[in-house]
């Protein structure tokens, strides 16, 4: 095979998403370099895994070779690559996100196979958004410099902190890294409400509408917190990493302020504070391999929803078998952020052999697995009996808790709504605020989550609907780009390995 034939075969296999065929074109030690890659892909395994993710991140792929020269084992090409990004959320004007660019490629052959393929192009037009100017009204996580260096390009704001969400890769590349490899997320904005003192556990039980009285040191537990009207304040994960420390690792609601207000001038013997603890998530099947290299504890022995008090890269830290991926992974909670970037770099270094990728939380995968995040500021007046995790609410637990009387009254009157899954019948834009919905009986509802599902190859969502809506029924939705219909279905959409 000459360079021109090899490059043509490579382009055809790329358009077909056939990573095996692409990798077959390379020598065993073949190298693929591209301007969009942080590091080259080397060897059969990296080539097949990496090229699979890149080639399947787009649809409607066309490559045009406009000029080429060959001499012996060398081929040089000028061409254009045209494709539509899958799962990119689209542009504000409704147009799909595209990656169209011209390139120069060099192909070096050895023994009839590609020894080195290099594609040079400008990625600036593919990521036109510069990092937005930020003001100090919001806090930075201690890993800020690392996320900027890792080419973060979209942030949200969470607990008054900048939340790195989207990095300079195609969504499917991050998705594959999470399902097949390992990813590092800066979630330093997940704040800990720390409870200490003789009444710490009882006070925790008073804040949560799940029974927390059976928790023991080393346990983690998902919980929901309500206000006195029975509306969800947040749905944190509670950790008990040390005998005298309980953390409510909460989402986008200031639970510390809430808990301190409740504890203040009360009889509770509890100290409530927000410690300088900025967690990281290391998610994906290879996360154990990464963290085992730098963690003192035996992480392989840990069960889901447990935590251990240990050291990571020489720093005191709690490590938990938890995370927002709906799959295998860990969270690392250093007891201080004084050496945060050392920890960040140590995880990246340990992950190098596993091709670790810095990503944001993968909303697509979370929704496929029915993992959501509910906060007081945007919960749309939802109570926990209407949530996907309504089954965890324990109104019969002996202890009183905030919102108990209100929830008992809601139960007595009958819960009016419930959370369900949606299978959209046509493309929808990125959900930036809740969309209105009408069920077959004309009753309103709200679409609270919407995303592309790589597993199901269609758009899916989660909505709050009238209790009477059955699975299989069709609802009408109005979104910023028009309207569509969706079939009501169960959540999660896919299993742990789906």
């Amino acid at each position: 095979m000459n360079p021109g034939e090899a490059f043509a075969a490579y382009c055809a296999a790329f358009a077909a998403g056939d990573a095996g065929a692409m990798a077959d074109l390379f020598t065993a030690d073949g190298v693929f370099e591209a301007s969009s890659l942080d590091v080259p892909l080397r060897g059969r395994q990296q080539l097949e895994t990496g090229l699979y993710a890149i080639a399947n991140a787009s649809r409607d792929i066309h490559t045009e070779i406009r000029l080429n020269f060959e001499s012996g084992n060398l081929g040089l090409f000028e061409g254009a690559y045209l494709a539509e990004v899958i799962g990119g959320g689209g542009r504000l004007d409704g147009a799909p996100q595209r990656v169209d660019f011209k390139f120069v490629a060099s192909v070096e052959m050895r023994d009839g196979r590609i020894a080195r393929l290099r594609e040079i192009f400008d990625t600036r037009p593919l990521h036109p958004e510069e990092r937005p100017r930020v003001f100090p009204m919001n806090r930075r996580t201690p890993y800020w410099d690392g996320t900027v260096a890792a080419k973060c390009r979209e942030w949200s704001v969470y607990n008054n902190m900048y939340f790195p969400m989207v990095y300079s890769r195609l969504p499917y590349e991050d998705y594959r890294a999470l399902l097949d490899g390992v990813t590092l997320w800066d979630v330093g904005l997940e704040r800990q409400t720390q409870l200490r003192g003789p009444d710490a556990q009882a006070f925790l039980d008073y804040l949560c509408c799940r029974d927390m009285s059976s928790m023991r040191p080393g346990d983690c537990r998902y919980a929901q917190l309500c206000d006195d009207r029975g509306q969800i304040m947040g749905d944190p994960v509670v950790l008990w990493p040390r005998d005298d420390i309980i953390w409510i690792s909460h989402g986008n609601t200031d639970i510390t302020l809430w808990a301190r207000g409740i504890a203040m001038n009360s009889d509770w013997r509890v100290e409530v504070s927000e410690p300088d603890v900025a967690p990281l998530q290391v998610q994906g099947p290879l996360s154990l391999g990464v963290l085992s290299k730098i963690c003192a504890a035996d992480l392989a022995a840990m069960k889901n929803y447990t935590c251990v008090d240990t050291e990571v890269a020489g720093q005191p830290a709690a490590v938990s078998r938890t995370g927002w991926s709906g799959g295998f992974g860990f969270e690392v909670f250093p007891y201080s952020s004084a050496r945060a970037m050392e920890l960040w770099q140590a995880i990246l270094d340990a992950g190098e052999e596993f091709a670790i990728k810095v990503t944001g939380p993968l909303v697509s995968r979370a929704i496929e697995r029915g993992v959501t995040d509910t906060g007081y500021y945007n919960n749309c007046d939802m109570n926990p009996l209407e949530d996907l995790n309504a089954g965890l609410v324990d109104l019969d637990k002996p202890a009183d808790f905030v919102g108990k009387q209100a929830l008992l009254e809601i139960r007595r009157r009958g819960v009016e709504r419930r959370s369900v899954g949606l299978l959209f019948d046509s493309p929808v834009p990125r959900l930036e605020w809740f969309w209105e919905l009408k069920d077959p009986r004309g009753k309103p509802g709200k679409v609270r989550w919407a995303t592309w599902s790589f597993a199901l190859e269609r758009y899916i969502g989660i909505a709050l609907v009238d209790r009477a809506v059955d699975l299989g029924e069709t609802v009408d939705i109005v979104h910023p780009r028009g309207s569509c219909r969706a079939e009501v279905t169960a959540v999660p959409f896919v299993g742990r390995d789906g």
């Binding site: 301007s35 040089l76 080419k151």
Partner: protein, 132 residues
């Protein structure tokens, strides 16, 4: 360098002249209808002597040194493709290196098209003033 031709020679001449900021040599390579595509410039597509000369002036003001190191170049009498590395030092800043691809086409007298390919994301452009 792998295979020489007239187009490849013109490309090398252009890169050398750009590196030494040799205005006369650059002007001699640019024609009335030359198209210059360079993502380090804004705008990145420039046409003809006046626009391209203005870009060269702007580059001279801001760039302390430019040097190209080509590892491959193939071409014939009228077209050439090359790849290699480009080192750039802005005045008062540290040198940065970029992978580059280059394509040139030429007519009887001058360059008809010179397209530079490089990833310019997170790279400051070569001139902050308006070229046109």
């Amino acid at each position: 360098m792998n295979s020489r031709g007239r187009a490849a020679s013109l490309l090398e001449d252009y890169l050398a002249a750009l590196g030494t900021a040799d205005s006369a040599a650059l002007d001699a390579l640019i024609g009335e209808h030359t198209l210059l595509e360079n993502p380090f410039l804004n705008p990145s597509r420039l046409l003809g002597r006046r626009e391209i000369a203005s870009a060269h002036d702007a580059i001279r003001e801001q760039i302390e040194s430019l040097d190209f190191d080509l590892d491959h170049c193939l071409g014939d009498a009228v077209r050439a493709i090359a790849s290699g590395r480009l080192g750039v030092t802005r005045r008062g800043e540290a040198r940065r290196d970029f992978a580059v691809g280059l394509v040139c086409e030429c007519d009887d007298r001058s360059l008809a098209r010179l397209s530079l390919y490089s990833d310019t994301r997170n790279a400051r452009r070569w001139s902050d003033r308006r070229i046109l």
